[in-house]
Chain length 126, copies 6
């Protein structure tokens, strides 16, 4: 697992490309404008260290991410991104509906309603 920073970054961006084709340039560009090490540190941890691990299929991981972001309710833009990423990695619309309804149980109706807004945007983006 020992990787050079440039490899760690590259591996993270390769995973991000699977979540949404074209996203790496946009996301890495945004982070590079902020600080030269931000992409490697943040995306390297998220994608190279954790999300790229074996043990759970990528689609399952996106289902978990959608549920967490919807329940927390503090990152609506990223919730919508991961709704799209879920669809891109093989999660079905029907499964997203089920996740969103389950969010209502554990985080309340307003969190579920906000997730419906994000899901509909993601559905319409395809």
């Amino acid at each position: 697992m020992s990787v050079a920073p440039s490899d760690r970054r590259a591996q993270a961006l390769a995973l991000l490309e699977r979540l949404e084709p074209g996203a790496p340039e946009r996301v890495a560009g945004n982070l590079d404008d902020f600080h030269e090490a931000a992409a490697e540190i943040l995306l390297g941890f998220a994608f190279t260290d954790v999300v790229a691990r074996d043990g759970l299929p990528l689609a399952t991981r996106e289902m978990l991410t959608v549920a967490m972001l919807a329940a927390m309710g503090t990152a609506p833009g990223q919730l919508e991104f991961h709704m799209r990423a879920a669809l891109n990695t093989g999660v079905t619309r029907e499964q997203i509906v089920e996740i969103v309804l389950q969010v209502a149980v554990y985080a309340g109706i307003p969190a579920s309603m906000n997730a419906i807004t994000a899901a509909k945007s993601a559905f319409n983006a395809r």
Copy 2:
């Protein structure tokens, strides 16, 4: 889906029994002591209306619940319960490890550390 309150309650408790054998008496008893309608309203919504729905396997639903409760961080007792329920419905320890690591990405290291504590308790309870 139209069910009498008594059926709605019974269906919820049947689902709860699948999450943890023996839990229905304890949970329903706790709620009945509070208010006669609490179990039907709260468990009926959670389990009869939502979690019992087709569309996602129960094990997947428990994975989502564990992720949400760990990310929110406000219900440690119920997080530990759903760690056990996840194991009871077929989620493996290895999968729980992966969920807990992914919590760190989306909700921070302290949320993940608290989830590790809950997971270890659930692992030891078996």
Copy 3:
């Protein structure tokens, strides 16, 4: 309390009409576009099962909802809706001011400032 799904939905929408005349078509339409059962499950729980209960006047319930949404801070659109619903069910502007100031005590000044923005929008909408 045993009701057919169609009745449960109808009762929820009748309550929603009291919160804001005209809201049922908009809210139910939004949910129906997402999934055919969403309105019955989410609004049925929220409004038929809980908010329509005796035991607290609707105006008091809206005061509680405004306080909770303002303190949580994760659903600004719904906070503004319930500010209007509070006014529609008989809560006075002076009472909303008091709620918003009290939010500062329990959830901090930024939560209160955000609630002021929502309250001013609701005041101006009338």
Copy 4:
């Protein structure tokens, strides 16, 4: 409203005595042990500046506080204190039940379950 610090503190503690007889010594002692100005700053803001204001009855304010603390889920000890304070200022057990059920709608079932635990402790303390 211009008051000397000693008066501001005294007014805050007088309000606190209404919430729970005997609480002022305990709470002020706890804060005085931490820093000499903590009681005046924190309790002065909470109770002298805000909660003692006209515009809402004290019982209504305690209902709002219970709802906010239950929805936020981050201060279980203070939630239980304000459950007792609600009862002490005239809120009925039946009203607390309704608040707790409404918490489930806006903050989720686990938040409501935790509030049930706090409510039952408060009920048993009397």
Copy 5:
């Protein structure tokens, strides 16, 4: 520390002027439109009672505020304001970068990404 309300307000606005020149008219105007006592109560507590205290330099206090608002994630507008206020009180861009990266550790990657957006806006505003 005993001050008349008008002085308490004036002291709060003087502190606010240090955070962002020109902000007092805008912020106080917004609050005065809501309720005549809001500025004194909310800004008086925040700035006169707490932030104006000795014991921490104002720049350090703004670093703490930026970290807290970024970690909580519920007040994006105020996060951006305090990013600017941090710069105005002597915090460097490099220090803000470090704070934002540290937010990722304790509150997760999405919170950090949102803070990057706010920081970039604040950097561009100068």
Copy 6:
């Protein structure tokens, strides 16, 4: 910054030793019992990748961590740990008092009261 996993872990534990002498064995032991890679992934990100960076003194970083954990309110055990770590890295009790009071402004009085409890435990532990 390219480091082998064993070095990344060792560097993280060296930083942790500065936060609290003796903590590395306890924390790493707890994580190793959970999963062999947990310490490297979680502590490596937190301490090797971020907290060990130049750009902010360690004492300042601990002040930020204390403020964030107190504002979030979801990790009381870790809040107390970082209160002690703040003292261990040169933050004074007077500075901790100021942080805790400032938490009340941005996250509310209950968050500040909980932080007072944690601070007093940390003060007494020395």
